[in-house]
């Protein structure tokens, strides 16, 4: 069903919509990337080593800020899901999708840096009683389920709706997971008092590095979400073009 007039108008849209895409690696992303790099340099070379743990402690400058980035991204997914169910705005759905993917990346970083540090310090790869780590593990499964669910649905409206339902139920689940893991770990070990890297009595250089790391990773989180959002926009434009061109 591709008569000549249809393809001419299609070409017009193609040229106006997609020949001049906004660059993905723009200034915000570059800034975020540079700041992460800068913090890494500072953490490795310009921050004193922690007395008890040695060099391995420096992994925490990635581990904890990544966790923060993960929680921010997950929070954005949950909030935009509520907005989508309420307003049916597909922008909210795209944002939910973008944040979820970024969240998965950050959570994976947390789950890989955690064991590396744990092995150096505790001699065990996985420490079940580290509440944040275990909690983050279950978060990975929930976010992965969200993305797999979205991937299994073709209709965009249904995808948005189902994704939103899962995101909201997932948000409800989180306190239960937290409580369950807490009960479980409190029974086995008291919460570790020593070796908490974010206690307030850190020497100032370490504290500064931490704060800078938090800022850098938060910037990276937003930059990645923004970039991924743009990809979603362009993908949706292409789908719409393919869907409308020559039919109905």
């Amino acid at each position: 069903m591709t008569s000549a007039p249809a393809s001419a108008s299609a070409r017009t849209v193609l040229s106006s919509g997609l020949t001049a895409p906004k660059p993905i690696f723009d200034w915000f992303f570059a800034l975020a990337g540079l700041s992460v790099l800068a913090v890494a340099v500072r953490a490795i070379y310009f921050t004193p080593m922690e007395a008890l743990q040695g060099a391995a402690q420096k992994i925490y400058y990635i581990h904890v800020p990544s966790a923060l980035g993960a929680y921010i991204a997950v929070g954005i997914t949950a909030l935009t899901s509520v907005v989508y169910l309420w307003l049916h705005d597909e922008r909210a759905d795209r944002l939910a999708e973008a944040s979820a993917e970024v969240a998965l990346v950050f959570i994976t970083v947390v789950l890989t840096t955690g064991p590396i540090w744990a092995h150096k310090i505790w001699g065990a790869w996985w420490v079940w009683w580290d509440m944040r780590l275990t909690f983050t593990l279950f978060l990975w499964f929930i976010v992965a389920a969200y993305l797999v669910l979205r991937d299994g649905i073709e209709d965009p409206a249904m995808r948005g709706r189902y994704g939103a339902v899962l995101a909201i139920l997932g948000a409800l689940l989180i306190p239960f997971i937290h409580l369950s893991v807490y009960l479980f770990s409190a029974r086995l070990h008291p919460m570790p008092v020593v070796l908490k890297p974010d206690k307030p009595s850190l020497p100032p250089e370490m504290l500064t590095t931490f704060l800078l790391a938090f800022v850098a990773f938060t910037l990276l989180c937003f930059a990645l979400i923004r970039a991924r959002y743009r990809i979603a926009v362009q993908r949706d434009l292409v789908t719409a073009f393919e869907g409308d061109g020559g039919s109905r």
């Binding site: 169910l85 279950f138 499964f141 929930i142 992965a144 389920a145 797999v148 669910l149 299994g152 649905i153 073709e154 249904m158 709706r161 189902y162 939103a164 339902v165 899962l166 909201i168 139920l169 997932g170 409800l172 689940l173 239960f176 997971i177 409580l179 369950s180 893991v181 009960l183 479980f184 029974r187």
Partner: protein, 231 residues
Amino acid sequence: MSRARAPGTFGAAWLVARKDLAIEFRTRTAFFSALVFAVLALCIFYFAWDESIIAPAQRAPGVLWVVLAFSALLGLQRSFSIEEHDRGIDALLVSPISRESIYLGKAIGNLLFLCAIQLITIPALALFYNLPIGRPLMVVTAIVLLAMIGIVAVGTLFSAMAVNTRLAELLLPMLSLPFFVPILMNAAQATTRVLGDRPLAESWPWLKILIAFDLVFVVACTLAFPFTLEE
């Protein structure tokens, strides 16, 4: 035209549940598959450990809850697939009954189905793992019932969603298992204590979370169900 009054929410739910159970009773395939799976899994788990190192009675709680989780998934799969076959769901949606009663009916049907399976699985567990028959086992049965409510609440909703996707059979476990985690964790901890002859009060913190989970998710899933329908 005779003025008929459509049944209320729970009446309609019970109708739907009865219909599902009638279908299940007629075919019986799903029931036997899930049952055989559960009992077989109990046996396989027995051989996974050396009984001289860990006593069977000590492994029993963990094994029970793993087996329950997976046999529940088998049972939940069929929940909405029968509606999808010839679009029986459309007939339900066109009728005057509420969307919520469709969900509740399915959930009640699933609950009865799963409880029937557990009524055989639990004695099988006692048999193979040499558990004493007595009050502790009764309490464990009650904990299983409590846990089944949560499992069914979440599983029924995800079954409704999964049936509309590609790879429905893979998606249901992926969606449901993260939600089963708090149920299984708390129920298993409580079961361990109960079977270890500890007083029930010791298990209370875990049971509290289980009850709270059931309450929150029965309500949340009932409210979420209409969003899973195309409208």
